[in-house]
Symmetry: C2
Subunit: 194 residues, 2 copies
DNA sequence: GCTTGATTTGAACGGGCGTTCAGATACCCT
DNA sequence: AGGGTATCTGAACGCCCGTTCAAATCAAGC
């Protein structure tokens, strides 16, 4: 009989994913070899191929997983109430979610060009869906006369770029707590669409 | 006597830099080989080493050149007048300058991690100087009672992240002209610090 | 405790990497 | 016309790459 419980795969697979995520974030996909990932896991390079058909699929799986997590977490939040409240919830959610997974966020932006065209299309569509969710909030706020936004599509992209920028400088234990950072950014976001 | 005018170096050097810039932007520093760069220039790989001691120096030179250009162009603008006017000038300058050199901007963000520690420090310091220039505008505007900014340091980073985000979606010939984009972003920046 | 299949090893494959350098080439100068 | 040097070629160096696969190892169920 096959071993179904407690098999090494249950342990090795996440360790490979974690090692690949960390190494890709630190050195870049192209600069990291399968042997380096294997070494980080404590295994020979050949063993990785029990878990991924190739290096490209490993990258794609990490990015796809990250985007799926993002959309799932977003939808689980169920933003309710008036537009201002929903925009604030989005702002705080975005900062919190992205700070919690800095490495995944990093490679999701940096390694897009290392995806095959087919894989890139998939990730881009998921990202587009997330952007559309923010744009919907802005559009409804504008229709309700609560927001003044010349172009909701661009405003959505601008806000996301601004918020994601937190990841480039925030370090926990620094001058500001995460809550303070959220408050500062919410202040700017709120005013920028008022 | 040495050939001093019309030497091939005057032609080859910029072609190497242009090819490297373009290839690094498209595929990433680590994924591009010296042989690929040479092929794009129409030369053998060995010839590149008449112009750069090694691949790392070539990358650093491109990034350093970009940052020097940025600071030189910024200082040449001589932002004058009241804080609002200077902030608007900064906003439009940033968008214009960055859209004009999308490839250099791209690698200046993406390839920082492929710099040696020493080279990274140099680029980081130049970037810090640019950020400080924006922060100075915000700080003076706040002191003059024209801006409401809870944290000028973070506001500067947030604004720069928002503005640089234009590069990820803007394509000339698209729905909006560059002037329209500048106007939309200036509207958001202005309000965000009001 | 043996069988069986999941998991891993370790070696090999062809190929590309960054860099070096002796020799060939091309062009300016006298 | 010929000398001299800036520039380039082409081959070579040792090394690492992604991937494959037969054989070894391991652990669960009988």
């Amino acid at each position: 009989m096959a071993r179904t419980t407690g098999s090494h795969a249950d342990i090795t697979r996440p360790r490979i994913r974690a090692a690949a995520l960390s190494l890709f974030a630190r050195h870049g996909y192209a600069a990291v070899s399968m042997r380096q990932i294997a070494r980080a896991v404590g295994v020979q390079a050949g063993a990785l191929y029990n878990y991924t058909p190739d290096k490209q699929s490993l990258l794609f799986s990490l990015l796809k997983g990250h985007m799926d997590d993002l959309l799932a977490a977003f939808e689980a939040e169920r933003f309710l109430g008036p537009p201002e409240q929903r925009l604030e919830a989005f702002t705080r959610f975005h900062i919190r979610f992205h700070l919690e997974r800095a490495e995944a966020v990093f490679i999701s932006y940096m390694e897009l060009r290392n995806l095959t065209e087919e894989n890139f299309t998939v990730i881009e569509e998921l990202r587009r869906r997330y952007e559309a969710a923010l744009e919907a909030i802005l559009r409804e706020g504008r229709q309700a006369g609560r927001f003044t936004v010349p172009d909701t599509k661009i405003a959505a992209l601008a806000i996301i770029a601004m918020l994601t920028g937190v990841n480039t400088w925030y370090r926990s234990g620094g001058r500001l707590s995460q809550g303070e950072v959220e408050a500062i950014y919410w202040d700017m976001v709120r005013k920028s669409v008022s």
